[in-house]
């Protein structure tokens, strides 16, 4: 029983970060229609910016204040230039989706190259609130608890933004039917770029939170892109609540698998992913 409770709590803690990364990818892919293979690279950059700032004495959680707006701007400009360019040149949405994905692939290699040049490929780490606190039957690191609470807070704030503001509603409308949202007066190119920017900012924040808990390295990004892909397939493409809940479900499943056989954790994502594509391609919240 204690084992199950431990897996559950551990899964929720890591799940918060998975939720945040996945909501970001869901905005980029579900709304912006770009399957951003380079999503995890924003996360990696966020982690390294945080590392750099904390080495200069900044509190790593405060790094988010610099990190998130910076990633938003980079993501926004990237969509406005590269992806909008591809979108207007594509004869139909299918062509845009495949060409957009290829461009994101290119972006992945470019960012990887630059990052390895700057930081090499060895792990970096620092200590922050590394004390243990009792949570349920056993102890957990305080930094992981704080990271999870932070991630959940961002998720909730974003949900409220989507539900109750004019811009949030425009994003939801564009997610359902881009052309019709345009007819309503929504500036589609702007809103899609905004979604891509928000997605990048979420990845950047997740990078900060990961650096608070775990060692970081330049190759860390792709694994999170894979997890986020599984989560948004589970949660339903473009569904923000689906990504939020899906992050916790995958967190708990992978924590459970890792307890049992750590070597199978990655295989578990893919098994879940393939089963989902076969059984419920629209996800738990998709329609």
């Amino acid at each position: 029983m204690d084992l199950f409770l431990n897996i559950f709590i551990g899964g929720l803690l890591i799940g918060g970060i998975y939720s945040l990364v996945s909501m970001g990818l869901s905005l980029q892919y579900g709304v912006g229609k770009v399957y951003n293979i380079a999503h995890g690279e924003f996360l990696m950059f966020g982690a390294f910016i945080t590392y750099w700032l904390q080495s200069m004495g900044v509190n790593p959680l405060v790094a988010v204040v610099i990190n998130a707006p910076l990633m938003f701007i980079v993501g926004f400009i990237l969509y406005r230039t590269v992806f909008t360019g591809i979108r207007v040149r594509s004869p139909n949405p299918g062509v845009f989706e495949s060409n957009g994905m290829l461009a994101a692939f290119g972006l992945y290699f470019i960012v990887q190259n630059i990052a390895v040049l700057i930081w090499g490929s060895t792990p970096y780490s620092y200590q922050y609130l590394n004390t243990s606190v009792a949570l349920g039957p056993s102890d957990f690191h305080l930094n992981r608890i704080i990271a999870a609470v932070f991630a959940i807070a961002i998720g909730v704030i974003f949900y409220i933004f989507l539900a109750s503001t004019r811009s949030g509603k425009a994003i939801r409308a564009a997610a359902q039917d881009t052309a019709t949202a345009g007819l309503m007066g929504v500036d589609i190119n702007f809103v899609l770029a905004m979604c891509f920017g928000f997605g990048a900012a979420m990845a950047g924040i997740a990078g900060t939170l990961i650096s608070v808990c775990y060692p970081i390295q330049t190759t860390m990004g792709l694994g999170y892109t894979v997890i986020a892909t599984v989560v948004i397939t589970l949660g339903g493409l473009g569904s923000i609540p689906g990504s939020f809940i899906g992050g916790f479900i995958i967190g708990i499943i992978t924590t459970g698998v890792a307890y049992w056989e750590p070597g199978l954790a990655v295989a578990a994502y893919y098994i879940i992913f393939i089963i989902l594509l076969l059984v419920r391609p629209k996800g738990i919240m998709g329609r």
Partner: protein, 234 residues
């Protein structure tokens, strides 16, 4: 109010519209009729910026709107109520209506406009909290029309509102279109329900294979042998 001059457009290399010209004057209901695949929706989508034109121009209130993005055209006062309703099924009825008021000027007045729209469509008010996906086809059409009014448009372009609806609901739809005109809204009505459409409209254009083949006032059209044979089954 709206003037389309020698418009050609299509999808990729396939040209659908050939030198289409038409005019809608302020206060009119103008009908655009034609069979399935004639190019009616393509024409409307080119006017409201969803599709680029190959050649020709579109003027609204005396100014060219060529090449403007859909949201700019919506802000100028054209409301396009699209074929197939296209309501936001995962949003509530109220949120759908709010989306209709998205342009900045309309957003400021949305409380008042909402009140007026609820007066026209009392059933929408009763069910304002419900998800739009729970609506029947007729109710979805009412919602689409209510949403189209939320931007306080000068011109409404309504694409096949009666498609797939029961005869009773079709009557209701046509009554609403007439009451829209009474509120001072100019209307371009795309329909395949030819007889009823010609009865409530002032003038009509007939589109066949992407070309305007006939235009004139509705009485003339109703009397024409071609219309009788091809569209009224007489």
């Amino acid at each position: 109010m709206l003037e389309v001059k020698k418009l050609s457009a299509g999808y990729g290399n396939i040209q659908i519209l050939w030198d289409v010209s038409l005019k809608v004057n302020e206060g009119e209901i103008v009908a655009l009729i034609g069979g399935n695949g004639a190019g009616k929706s393509t024409l409307v989508r080119t006017i409201t910026g969803l599709l680029p034109a190959n050649s020709g121009t579109v003027e609204f209130l005396g100014k060219s709107i060529d090449g403007l993005e859909p949201h700019k055209i919506a802000e100028l006062g054209i409301s396009h109520i699209p074929e197939g309703r296209k309501i936001f099924t995962d949003m509530s009825v109220m949120e759908n209506l709010e989306m209709g008021a998205y342009p900045k000027n309309a957003w400021k007045n949305k409380k008042n406009t909402l009140k007026k729209v609820y007066e026209m469509f009392p059933r929408l008010k009763e069910r304002e909290k419900q998800l739009a996906r729970t609506f029947s086809g007729g109710e979805q059409q009412m919602l689409a029309m209510g949403r189209g009014l939320m931007s306080q448009p000068k011109l409404c372009i309504i694409d096949e509102p009666s498609n797939g609806l029961a005869p009773m609901v079709v009557m209701e739809v046509f009554e609403i279109i007439q009451s829209m005109r009474k509120q001072g809204i100019t209307i371009l009505l795309i329909e395949q329900n030819v007889k009823q459409t010609l009865e409530i409209s002032d003038r009509a254009y007939v589109l066949e294979n992407g070309r305007i083949v006939m235009e004139g006032d509705c009485a003339t059209c109703l009397a024409s042998e071609h219309i009788k044979k091809a569209y009224l089954g007489l």
